[in-house]
């Protein structure tokens, strides 16, 4: 039952980011008033990559920020969860902005819920959209993405492991996305069922 299956390599990630950037321009009428906000940690480099694509393909400069959501999670104090606290950096006024939240994996939707609350405490954006590299399903909240790099069917007990050159240099210098089914997760899922 254990093992890791590669579902995206560096070229797939690059194409997915480029497609998200192109769709974003199309659906925001040229990207005016748009700001990208990456959810830390891996949403942040992805937001910068989308911004770089926009610069290259459309000569469009959009501001990029990073949002840390540790203080907004609904599982901060549950046993076993250790959420590292990081810094939020929003170098622009979020009021009346069209914000595109960026994250690596969309799963239960709870992270996005926390990010929405965090963002609202900074001001009142005119619109918030969501871009994710991988949508793996199994939502626990009514949240859906606007831009998706890849839709992946998964089982609840599997996990999606994203490794990006910027954040995981020690582990991998190339971008990869793996679908992992670890024995521990299987065991935990079985415990929940019984």
């Amino acid at each position: 039952m254990s093992g890791a299956r590669c579902v995206m390599d560096a070229a797939d990630v690059r194409r997915a980011v480029r497609r998200i950037a192109l769709e974003l321009v199309e659906r925001t009428r040229g990207g005016q008033g748009v700001a990208l906000v990456g959810i830390r940690t891996r949403g942040e480099p992805l937001a910068h990559r989308i911004a770089a694509e926009l610069r290259e393909v459309e000569a469009l400069e959009v501001p990029v920020g990073a949002l840390d959501i540790a203080m907004y999670r609904d599982d901060v104090f549950e046993s076993g969860s250790r959420v590292a606290v990081g810094q939020t950096h929003l170098p622009f006024d979020v009021n009346d902005r069209h914000i595109v939240l960026v994250d690596d994996v969309l799963f239960t939707g709870r992270t996005v819920r926390a990010a929405l609350d965090a963002l609202m405490d900074w001001g009142r954006p005119c619109r918030i959209q969501l871009a994710v590299l991988v949508d793996r399903g199994h939502r626990e909240l009514p949240i859906q993405p606007d831009y998706v790099g890849m839709t992946l069917s998964t089982r609840v007990d599997e996990s999606v492991r994203v490794r990006l050159a910027e954040t995981d240099a020690g582990e991998s210098d190339r971008d990869t996305v793996h679908l992992v089914s670890t024995p521990e997760r299987v065991a935990a899922a079985e415990r929940r069922r019984t």
Binding site: T41, A70, V76, V85, G86, Q87, T88, W122, G123
Partner: protein
């Protein structure tokens, strides 16, 4: 609910890494202070009791604001208004409060070790907000944060702590935090105010003010605490000011980019000359601002949150 109680009783028993983690978390709260909604929901639904059995305004209000910015509910019990004046013991007071199921109790008490006693007596996280002449851990943390923010690092900084070292819990917490983080700490005061064997805490000791200040990166002045003195330890305020106070001339011996710190409240003209207290080197009001974010980090940590990653 499984309780994984975490306390902050003293800095002396913390590892350098744990102190750095608290400072990093505090740093992440800085941005909240500058936005319109100065609140995060992390401690929503939790109760923080502020049990201040000794006079304190700034530490209590700082803790109260910190708890509120984390969305906790606060309950303030202070010495003059509590049943302590009717003769109730600390543990009985605490047990009565414990019956109201607080998550965190912040204690200020005139006796050293009372937070430790409380931690053994009731089922809540205990935060020491100053216990007698022992420690004032959040003051030590906020001073360390203030130094780090200005100098970039604490390691290698030369810090002079001048004043009534013997009666000062602020000095003890600062010596613990700063020496663990690699600073060179020198304490200075009249011989009557320098405890024997203070060097064992990891600092140098002298009664020569100018020697302590020479080449210092940070000069931390302590308040003369007349309320804690049981006997006259120096002849007069004026003589103390001349030999151990910080004025422009004495400050000239320190490095040009020296920081002047003071835990407050200041006795102007005694330990600190007014023009130094208000001078460009003074970071006294920044200490107050940093106190809030440090206390947020401590409350968040004691409630069970994790550390920083930066």
């Amino acid at each position: 609910m499984t309780t994984r109680r975490r306390h902050l009783l003293e800095l002396a028993s913390l590892e350098a890494g744990e102190i750095t983690e608290l400072l990093d978390v505090a740093e992440s709260f800085q941005d909240i202070t500058h936005r319109r909604i100065k609140k995060v929901p992390a401690l929503r639904g939790m109760t923080v009791v502020l049990l201040f059995l000794e006079a304190s305004t700034r530490t209590r209000t700082s803790f109260e604001l910190a708890a509120k910015r984390l969305s906790a509910d606060t309950l303030s019990v202070s010495g003059g208004t509590s049943s302590v004046v009717k003769g109730e013991t600390l543990v009985d007071t605490a047990r009565n409060l414990a019956a109201m199921s607080p998550d965190i109790v912040v204690l200020r008490h005139k006796h050293s070790g009372s937070p430790h006693l409380l931690a053994r007596s009731i089922d809540a996280s205990i935060v020491n907000a100053g216990d007698g002449g022992h420690e004032h851990p959040t003051q030590g943390l906020l001073d360390a944060l203030t130094i780090r923010r200005h100098k970039g690092r604490i390691e290698g900084q030369r810090v002079a702590i001048i004043g009534d070292i013997a009666h000062s819990r602020v000095a003890r917490s600062n010596i613990a935090a700063l020496s663990k983080l690699g600073a060179e700490v020198t304490v200075c005061g009249p011989p009557t105010m320098l405890p024997h064997g203070v060097e064992a805490l990891g600092c140098r000791a002298t009664s020569d003010r100018d020697a302590a200040i020479r080449g210092a990166d940070v000069v931390m002045m302590l308040r003369i605490q007349k309320e804690r003195m049981t006997e006259e330890l120096f002849p007069s305020d004026r003589e103390y000011a001349l030999r151990f106070g910080l004025d422009r001339a004495a400050l000239g011996l320190a490095k040009p980019d020296v920081l002047v710190m003071h835990p407050g409240p200041i006795n102007r003209g005694v330990e600190l000359a007014p023009d130094v207290a208000d001078g460009p080197e003074s970071v006294i009001l920044e200490q107050v601002a940093n106190g809030i974010i440090v206390r947020m980090a401590v409350l968040y940590h004691c409630a069970g949150g994790a550390g920083g990653d930066t």
